[in-house]
Symmetry: C3
């Protein structure tokens, strides 16, 4: 089930990235590349930082077709995608949680500490969007606003904490999913945000 | 012959990067660094993504001197370099094809799939320029316009396809070179470009 | 002693990065992340480029708390931190030299050539700031002005040269420290800078 959600989240991330590419007037080739880099970039960053090879798309090049194709398809149906704004926020939230759990699991399988596993989950969940914003020449949204990386942090801590206390894996996954989705969607609905640090001094 | 073309392409990429640095008022030290990063960055990205060590400039540090020196030299002769605009477009096209072939060959030597080898060629050929544009605080040209990454894609597919069908290596290299240069230079001359995806919605 | 200076330099880099985050109106979570990435990013870039694992913060996750916490703390005392502008320039200069020496030492321990060891020192000393500037959507300061990367280059060459000529390690470290600090602080005081390459042609 996680694998199905993973593929769906990849597609959703690639489609959102395609809209970001359209805001920057990228050409179709650029749309496909930005889609793939955004969707697969978080996991690739994690693997490079942890020294884990081969990367997902090196082992499974079909992921490049899936994400690049999803981004290209978005060009054709952009009007409808935009109308499905809420659906995409939901899919993006699902992706954030699923990517986080995958990142935690991979770090655990490498025998890394709980702290690094939590960070591994955050990188997997969030850094694709950071790469997208860098390539779109923007200050990454992740650093500026929204309860996003912190949802990933909370999900990772809940997940790894529960596993450590012996809660069965399936129950833990479902609990982390429910808690993560609930937190993220409530944050969007209520406009929750961390305080901003505004500094204009030297 | 490929090795000679490779060194020449490194120099040409470093010199073009120096002009980009000059557009951003970088100092001489920055010019040299941007030249090296641009010229050697595509291959370094490829090796990091594929988990291949040591990187080219770690094994051959003289490449740092060559590229940094070429960029610095460009400061002195910028006026003449700009007059040689057409020559540089040609050298850049040669570099794109040579870097692509090298990227494909290295991935093949690692036993990676044809699809990954094609992507390896594209990263080798194109990502130095992406790093240059990120460091110059611009949306990478690669995503916005021009038939550039797609030339790399076509060259890689032609090259690896011909090798698979048993065409001798030397003939394949020459054919890929002719086809790639022809495609790239025709695209420049005719102003070919992919359609742009312009999106201003939510 | 180097280890104590290393931790102090990490804290100083994270605090400076927090002020940069405040100039971009990042939220508190973003401040902490930018602080960690800036302080630990130079060493992480070096290790990824040299293929050296695990990264420092993977082996010692407490470094993430230290740097993220230092950045967060800066939010509370930003007014005082700004008043300590000169102290921070000093701490930053100490950090530049210490990071450079550590980068040189690690490359030497890997058996890499002197040239690569010098570059390893520069990357360790300078690339955290490059990552910070990219994430703040600015052309990296490193490329535009100031005697900064060149101090790192000079320190690395002096350090490795002296070691090669058989000067004892402790004396070499102190000499490199004095020379590097002297050069950097003099450069700041006198406003030394490399000439800028300004180019507006094609």
């Amino acid at each position: 089930m996680l694998h199905g959600l993973y593929l769906m989240a990849l597609v959703a991330e690639a489609m959102s990235a395609a809209l970001a590419a359209g805001r920057r007037d990228m050409d179709w080739f650029g749309v496909a590349m930005l889609g793939s880099i955004t969707a697969l970039g978080g996991g690739s960053c994690r693997d490079i930082l942890l020294g884990r090879h081969p990367l997902s798309w090196v082992a499974h090049p079909s992921l490049l077709l899936l994400t690049g194709g999803a981004a290209l398809g978005t060009v054709l149906i952009a009007r409808h995608v935009a109308r499905l704004h809420r659906t995409f926020l939901l899919l993006d939230a699902v992706g954030l949680v699923v990517f986080t759990l995958i990142g935690c699991d991979l770090a655990r399988a490498m025998g890394l500490s709980v702290a690094v596993a939590v960070v591994s989950g955050m990188i997997t969940g969030c850094f694709g969007g950071v790469l997208r914003d860098i390539l779109c020449n923007e200050v990454p949204l992740l650093f500026r606003s929204e309860i996003y990386a912190s949802v990933s942090l909370a999900v990772g801590m809940l997940y790894l904490g529960a596993l450590r206390f012996g809660v069965p894996h399936d129950i833990t996954v479902v609990a982390a999913m429910v808690a993560g989705l609930g937190l993220r969607l409530t944050a969007i609905a209520r406009g929750w945000a961390f305080p901003v640090f505004r500094w204009r001094g030297a």
